[in-house]
Symmetry: C2
Subunit: 316 residues, 2 copies
Amino acid sequence: MKCRRCRAPAVIDVRRHNAGFCAECFTRHCREQVRRAIEDHDMIHEGDRVLVAVSGGKDSLGLWQLLRELGYEADGLYVGLGIGSYSDRSGEFARAFAEQHAWPLLEIDLEETYGFDIPGGARAAKRVPCSACGLSKRHVFNDAAISNGYDILATGHNLDDEAAVLLGNVLRWDAGYLGRQHPVLPAAPGFVRKVKPLVRLGERELAAYCVLTGIDYIVEECPMAVGNRHLGYKDMLNQVEERSPGTKAAFLFGFIERGHERFAGDAAEEREDLRPCSECGAPTPGEVCAFCKLRSRAAAPRIPVRVEDVHAEVEA
Amino acid sequence: MKCRRCRAPAVIDVRRHNAGFCAECFTRHCREQVRRAIEDHDMIHEGDRVLVAVSGGKDSLGLWQLLRELGYEADGLYVGLGIGSYSDRSGEFARAFAEQHAWPLLEIDLEETYGFDIPGGARAAKRVPCSACGLSKRHVFNDAAISNGYDILATGHNLDDEAAVLLGNVLRWDAGYLGRQHPVLPAAPGFVRKVKPLVRLGERELAAYCVLTGIDYIVEECPMAVGNRHLGYKDMLNQVEERSPGTKAAFLFGFIERGHERFAGDAAEEREDLRPCSECGAPTPGEVCAFCKLRSRAAAPRIPVRVEDVHAEVEA
């Protein structure tokens, strides 16, 4: 197989584009896809300060580098989630990458700043870990971007991620979620603008981009995500993609073009009902936001003090 | 496990309802689901003449019996598709069932009436067989119902079928198809009303209903459908249903409640552009309808006569 652009021997083929690429043209292809996503969805305006959420994985480190290559002076944000040695190692990859390029990396440790970690938070709030984690990251990312004066939070959600999330939303026909699922979520009171510049690139392309450009990333997946629903949806879509290359992209971009707008009103209605959380000020439909609820459960002493024990101590 | 209604030993459990049923209560449950589908979607009005498309399989024979049990004097329609011995056997099952109950069965043979069969039609039109078959059945069913004075055509599409079709339509975000996907398609000029009273029952429930009530049906699947896309979608949904019982029903009914209406306008627009086919009079967006195009290709001599051969014959 030859490179579609320069006819040199190809090092990767992208089945849904029915094209092979040599290393140089492939990295160019990746940049081009990110440039196009940014342009098509009007993601970043001149002078915007961009913060990239990085986990140490291929998607987020790849995104950071791609944005820099495209001329955006994006900074990184690493949030320590306290998921045992997995978090330790992912932080090391993120830090090493930032140091290597001398790009600024903001760091926030969930336990230090908010008094709980993901395993403990999930247990205390009786949520599945991925739910507690997603909720916490959304809150902390948004908060970090706003309080540090960034205009944009960029995340490394790729085509496979977005298609799997869309499948989950569609299986439930959750109109509010469908209305919020878009490569750009505009800024709103209490919300920084959120963009997903990798929507035009698949997981495999991100891995290849990192390998070909020498990005050292954490290969292992989060141990708490094993067997979760999202990965099940990814598997389903991989099966149909295997059979009909291009299905995932048609599904996601078909939705963006012909589906999303039909649900935008539901999301807008939900947004209108938001008011500041009485504890942290973040927008929430209730009195206290879900993150503060999680935190108050998780950061509270986990074993309630028993009256007998106090008596025993006093008597001793 | 005990029957949910009468506490007798259960013979079947329906995981998405988290319930077991004895034989009697299960057949009652099936009738109840059909009655509710008819009522919820206002499918059949008093005095309507109902024609049920029967294939000899569990869904259509089950539907026919369920409609009769509910008091509808539905007649049957069997279309011979010419798919080798499979069609021969399916016709035998349909005829035997009709005779056993002395219920009227209309019969139409595709080859006799229209001059082609499905394998030949698919080959000639270079369509996948399931596409040629679906197109032909839609046309012939509608035509048979209208020309025989029926108000309603009922088909045996069950929950699994409809969920799989919905998944295919959603993966492509085909707005027109999504707008037409509904348990009831109202009558329109040239179109009889079409209803799907089995949408609240799964494949497994239909098989159990037939076994428990002694309906003898063709168990084998159509040999031309093996490995088709639709069955792939069914497999995908079965995987997620296995893990989260109720997903299929939530997907289909969520769409009916919160999705369908958003696409109804696209279907209505397409309907407005229809005009009578210049050959058969059926509504079509073009000059000649897809069925007449298929027929003219398929019923024409398949090996074009070569001029040389004619010369040779004349000279001989």
